[in-house]
C-alpha cells in the first residue's frame, strides 16, 4: 500500500461519500472502506483494473476521468480523490474544476517534479529524469503535464481554487507545507498532497 493512503484517509471523516478518480486496483478504496466506513465509488480507465475492483466487491465505473466525470451531478460526493494522475490529463484545469464541481472537497496528490533527485538527474545526466515515482522514458510516459509542488500552489491562484491543507511526503514522513517552507518542501518532498476547495 502506498504511504500516502494513510494520509489521505486521515483527511477524510468517517462515513463520508467518496469518489476515487483513477482508483486503480481499488487498494485505497478498500482502505477507506475499512478505516473510515466510507461510502466509496471509483472510476477507472483500465478494464483489467476494473475487473480487479469488481473481484474485491467495489463499485467501480469504467471510464475516463477527463470525459466521464460530467455524468455526476454537482456535489455528488463529499470528497473526490485524485491520486498521482493529474499530470496524465490532457487538460488538468478542466479536471480540477470537474473534481470540485462533483465533490465538496478534493484531495489531489502529485509526484513532485521539483524534487532534488529529479533536478540533479536533469542537471547532470542531461536526460529526462527517471525516478522511482516517475519510472517512464520521455517517449512512453503517460505523464504529459508534470508539475512541482510550487507549480501546484501557483496553479491554485491562477485557476482560482482554495488549498485547504497542503502536505509533503518525505521519506514516508508527512509534514505541512506553508509559505515559509515552500522552497524547502519543493526540493525534498517526493509527493505533494493537497486538500482543496472551490
Amino acid at each position: 500500500m502506498k504511504p500516502e493512503y494513510k494520509i489521505i484517509s486521515d483527511l477524510i471523516e468517517k462515513d463520508a461519500k467518496v469518489l476515487d478518480v483513477g482508483c486503480n486496483d481499488g487498494t485505497l478504496m478498500e482502505f477507506l472502506k475499512t478505516n473510515k466506513n466510507a461510502n466509496i465509488r471509483g472510476i477507472e480507465i483500465s478494464k483489467e483494473k476494473v475487473q480487479i475492483c469488481i473481484a474485491k466487491g467495489l463499485t467501480v465505473i469504467e471510464g475516463n476521468a477527463e470525459f466521464d466525470l460530467k455524468q455526476f451531478p454537482n456535489d455528488s460526493f463529499e470528497y473526490v480523490v485524485l491520486g498521482q494522475t493529474l499530470q496524465a490529463f490532457i487538460n488538468p484545469e478542466t479536471v480540477i474544476k470537474e473534481l470540485l464541481r462533483v465533490g465538496n472537497k478534493a484531495i489531489v496528490t502529485i509526484p513532485n517534479f521539483g524534487h532534488w533527485k529529479v533536478r540533479l538527474n536533469l542537471l547532470f545526466k542531461g536526460t529526462m529524469p527517471i525516478t522511482n515515482s516517475l519510472p517512464h522514458d520521455w517517449y512512453n510516459t503517460p505523464n504529459i503535464h508534470m508539475c512541482t509542488i510550487k507549480d501546484f500552489v501557483r496553479f491554485s491562484k491562477i485557476i482560482n481554487f482554495k488549498i485547504f491543507k497542503s502536505l509533503a511526503l518525505i521519506n514516508e514522513n508527512v509534514s505541512d507545507i506553508n509559505n515559509s517552507n515552500l522552497i524547502f518542501k519543493n526540493l525534498f518532498g517526493e509527493l505533494g498532497i493537497f486538500l482543496i476547495e472551490k
Binding site: V50, I54, A55, I61, E62
Partner: protein, 374 residues
Amino acid sequence: MNIKQNIKTLIVEKPLKLDCGQTINNFPLAYETYGSLNNEKDNAILVFHALTGDQFVTGINPVTKKDGWWSYAVGSGKSIDTDKYFVICANVIGGCMGSFGPSHENPKTKKIYGTDFPVITINDMVNAQINLLDFFGIKKLFSVIGGSMGGMQVLQFISNYPDKAKTAIPIACTSSHSAQNIAFNELGRQAIAADHNWSDGDYDSKNIVPDKGLAVARMAAHITYLSKKGLQEKFGRKLQKRDDLKFGFDADFQIESYLRYQGSVFVDRFDANSYLYITRAMDYFDLVKQFNGNLSDAFKNTKAKFFVISFTSDWLYPTQENKDIVIALNAVGANVGFVEIESDKGHDSFLLNVSDFLKALKNFLDKSYAEKHS
C-alpha cells in the same frame, strides 16, 4: 402435445391491466427454476430472457433437447451459481413456451388468438412476472438479471418495483429502443408478413406455418447479433463443401449455409406470431419517455445496487446506450458499477463463453451476496 408436460405453469388469477388497455386474468405464466430457495428466501435471482429465449435457462431444454440459452453463465459453480442461488426464469407473456401468447386459444372464438392477441409491452411482461414472487413467498429478490430484452425487463422491473431486488444487472441493453433496432425488427416482421402462409396470423387454423418468412426474419436478426470482425474471422469467404463457386444461387459460402441453418432450426422452436408480438414489445420500450424525458426518475426510489455491462463489438445495443443508463443512475446517486467487456462476438457476447464477462458477473454476484451475509 406432451412437451407441455415438461412445462411448469403458474396460473395468474390476479387481473393484469395491460398497457394497451385490455385486462387479462387467469392467464398461464410458464416458468422454470434451478437450485433451491434457502430458508431466509433471500437467495433468489429472477433471470429475464431475451427475444427468442425461454424459461429453460440452463441444462438441456426439455422441449428443444438443446442446451439452455444461458448454459455458459448459469449452473453449478458458474457465474450465476445454482449451488448458491435459486434461479427463476419465466417465459414472457406473448411468448411461445407455455406463457399466455398468440398461439393460445381464444375462449370466445375457440381459435388461436393470432393477431387478436393484445399487443403487450416490456412493462406488461414484468408486471406478469412479479406474481412469481408471491408464488414463491419471496419478499425481495437477491438479483434481477438479463441481457438484451432481458436487460430492458431488469430496468422496467426496478422502475416498477424499486424495493423488490437487492441488485440489478442489465446487460447489453438500452433504456429506449433505437430507430436502427426498430428498423431491424420491422424487417423481421415484414419477412413474416410477406410469407403467404402467414395468412394475417391465422396460419394455425389452416395447419400451415410461415416458416420461410420466420426463417428470413431470424437470418436477418442473427447478423445483427454478430460483429463484422467475428463473422470475417469465423467464415471469411470460405466455401461450403465445394472447391469453387457454382455460378448459381445455392449456398456457395459457409456464411450462407450457416444463416440458412440458423433460420431452419429456429422455425422448429418458435412461433411466428410470438416473434411479431415480442419484437413489438421491444420497439415500444422507451423508459425515458415513460418518465417524461428524464430516465433518472425511473430509478430515484431504488436502493438496488446496479452493475451495467456492455460489450465492445455490440453494435445493436452499443456501449453508449448502456452508459446512458449508468449516467441516469449516477444522477440520482444510485450505487452503480459499469464495465465494457472486450469481445469481438457482437451482441451475442452475453450468451457465449466470454471469460471476462462471466468472471465479472460471478464476482459481482458473489461479493454482493457475501456483503449482505457478513
